[in-house]
């Protein structure tokens, strides 16, 4: 708990320093006061937990984000071309994809990753399945291939 409070305070204060750009004693002391007040309130609301601060996610997340970025670039071009090229180039499909994540943070991260890549949107989530709407069959096949699922599970695993 102390670790979470300290890390939350330092992250908030680092964010404050980066956003403010004014570094005289008075403004910095305002920053310190507001950070401490925020931490006090979040503690009172009992939302300083593993969901608000997923410290347990390991460093594989950096590699995963790069991979996800590449997927986003690819599907962006694909969907953008389907938008502008003449003729009907879409073939929507709704299907259920299995999920292998253990925690709600993991499932949320997977569902968000699916939605973040254009061409696939997560519609509903259950404990072990996500209902996905895909613009094309090939987009659906990409999700069902399970690469993204495996990636998120790897990121989710504790150190």
């Amino acid at each position: 708990m102390t670790v979470r409070l300290v890390s939350l305070t330092s992250i908030l204060f680092a964010t404050w320093l980066l956003m403010s750009g004014h570094y005289d004693a008075l403004t910095i002391s305002f920053g310190v006061i507001s950070c401490i007040a925020c931490v006090y309130l979040t503690r009172r609301m009992k939302i300083v937990d593993h969901e608000g601060q997923p410290l347990h996610l390991n460093s594989a997340i950096v590699v995963y984000w790069l991979w996800l970025l590449w997927q986003i670039v690819k599907s962006n071009l694909d969907v953008a071309l389907r938008c502008v090229l003449p003729g009907k180039r879409i073939d929507p499909i709704v299907f259920r994809a299995p999920t292998s994540q253990k925690t709600s943070v993991g499932i949320a991260a997977y569902a968000n990753s699916i939605t973040l890549t254009p061409g696939t949107v997560s519609m509903t989530t259950w404990d072990h399945e996500i209902e996905v709407h895909a613009l094309t069959r090939s987009g659906a096949d990409d999700v069902l291939a399970g690469n993204m699922d495996a990636w998120v599970t790897r990121v989710e695993r504790r150190k």
Binding site: I72, C83, P92, N112, L116, M123
Partner: protein, 109 residues
């Protein structure tokens, strides 16, 4: 000079993606397929424009703020798209798929 060129390439690319997404939002048949077109604007369009602006600003606090905006979009846009689509689903909009009986309008009867 090179930075300037990269920056403008990013800005123009982002603008083109936004236009493409806009065209898709008009052309696609139902709310679900349109959300895919909106996804192009959310991700490709927004991030390319942020990248172009960051290249314009160089290594300053402005770039840091643009990065924070990008981070915010990275987490909030998929969440809001999911909320929209889930709302449409629970509101009774049936997605148009190849095998569905109400193929022409996609509205639940």
């Amino acid at each position: 000079m090179i930075v300037e060129m990269v920056s403008w390439l990013c800005l123009m690319g982002g603008a083109l993606l936004c236009v493409a997404g806009g065209i898709g939002m008009v052309r696609f048949p139902d709310v679900y397929t349109r959300s895919h077109a909106a996804g192009v604007i959310d991700t490709g369009g927004a991030f390319m424009i942020l990248l172009g602006l960051a290249a314009q600003a160089g290594f300053t606090l402005i770039t840091v703020k643009l990065f924070f905006i990008g981070l915010l979009l990275f987490f909030t846009t998929p969440t809001s798209t999911h909320a929209l689509v889930k709302g449409a689903l629970f509101g009774g909009q049936n997605p148009i798929v190849r095998d569905s009986p109400d193929k022409d309008n996609g509205v639940a009867s």
